[in-house]
Amino acid sequence: MPFVRSSTGLALVLASAITVNAGPAVSQEKTAPPQAKPTVAKICSNCHQPEAGSLRGNFDGVAYKTQSIQVKIDDTTEILRFDKAALKVQNVPAENPDEPLRSIKKGKEVRIAYTEKDGKKTATLVVAKPAIKIAPEKLLSTTEVEKLVANGPEKGGYLLIDARPAPRFMEGAIPTAINIPFPAFEKMTDKLPKDKNALIVYYCAGMT
């Protein structure tokens, strides 16, 4: 099924490509540059590029005693120091004003801005990923969608996109919708309108 394909498929392709080109393994090892630690977790790289002085990953824990933060970036763990007085924390509930990092749950996606000196990273800013909220002006009601659909895509001037997996779409979809399952978004950008100002309406199986 196309919708369950993921980075694993790509990883396999890459791995086999490397095997083919590797040549004598020993000499390769000597010349290969050391692998840089990732700065953006895979899950974040869907939307974010690496940037200097910034890490993106899953918050793992905090120790206020030693003023250090632990963050997981895929399989690696980064430990950063911080200065409690200077550290800024954003998008965190105001329940622990003294030690705001305690309000970040383990696993929460965070961005950490840092400075680096003598190979040691000091966090200056921790931003928790905000909840997915849609601005009210971007929401359409059932009545509004009914009106669009009654006019049809040409007269109504819209593209209606069903973001559910293909098997669900096949079982029945809103008239005039096309199917771009969310996991396949990047592979199917050619289905989007050429005109960047065209009205695009997304829906799926409800409040997800």
């Binding site: 929401l139 359409l140 029945g172 979809a173 969310f182 950008t189 309406v201 799926c204 199986a205």
Partner: protein, 257 residues
């Protein structure tokens, strides 16, 4: 999934992206959906997914050529025969076709939606499209009685079985919550482990192989996606096909989707 998609489209520079957040569950309360004859064949008939298939043309036209498994019920007679349909709370998928996917089928679908059926689907292009695709056509007498025997989807756990496991989870079982973190932060089933569906394949180490895994989300859709991913990786896995509401104390409500 729709807010995420909308976010990505905006990143690509689209300036007029909207989200119909209530989505299909609200749409189907007031409207029918559509599917192509190809999808009728692939998603229901070939997969043997239980459904009610209605031929709403007049009986004489239907006898000349119909889709296997169809029940004859001319559109105008549906309202009078509504008692012959499976109970609404079983949410049977009802698929309606006429000659060409026109008003006949649409009116039949409207009657069914107005009667409280929430999974009513019209075959686009009707019998004409089915025949144009060269799919098999039956002739002669059609069935007149609706038979609908619900059957779980592959990998689906009964809602009542899930409820028992969620209240007292056996040691050899793990409930895997595959919603996103924001949803989970608002409340999780006690003892469940959170691995959002989109992260599963990168985090298989967090999903124990020696336990039975039962996935759930808020609608059943992502739970089923996660089920397929784990099944393919050799897990003993099932999924909950239900609407799930969980409060901050872990109390939960389950409802057939």
């Amino acid at each position: 999934m729709s807010p995420n998609s909308a976010g990505r489209a905006e990143k690509l520079g689209y300036t007029n992206v909207k989200v119909y957040h209530e989505g299909l569950p609200e749409w189907t309360k007031r409207n029918c959906t559509v599917l192509s004859s190809q999808f009728l064949k692939d998603a229901y008939i070939d997969k043997d997914i239980p459904h009610v298939l209605l031929d709403v043309r007049d009986a004489a036209s239907a006898r000349k050529g119909f889709i296997k498994g169809a029940v004859t019920m001319p559109a105008a007679s549906i309202a009078a025969n509504i008692a012959a349909f499976p109970p609404k709370d079983k949410k049977p998928p009802i698929i309606v076709y006429d000659q060409n996917g026109g008003d006949n089928a649409k009116n039949a679908a409207k009657t069914l939606v107005a009667s409280g059926y929430t999974s009513v689907t019209v075959v686009t292009g009707g019998m004409d499209a089915w025949q144009a695709a060269k799919f098999p056509v039956e002739t002669g007498n059609l069935a007149t009685a609706i038979v609908y025997v619900p059957k779980p989807r592959p990998g689906e756990i009964a809602i009542e079985d899930f409820r028992k496991i969620a209240l007292v989870t056996p040691a050899d079982t793990l409930i895997l919550d595959v919603r996103n973190r924001d949803e989970a932060n608002a409340g999780m089933i006690k003892g469940a482990t959170l691995v959002p569906d989109e992260e599963i394949l990168d985090r298989l180490a967090d999903v124990p192989k020696n336990r039975r895994i039962i996935t759930h989300c808020s609608t059943g859709v992502r739970a089923e996606m996660a089920y397929h991913k784990l099944k393919e990786k050799g897990y003993n896995v099932a999924f909950l096909n239900a609407k799930v509401d969980i409060d901050k104390d872990g109390n939960f409500k389950l409802e057939k989707p």
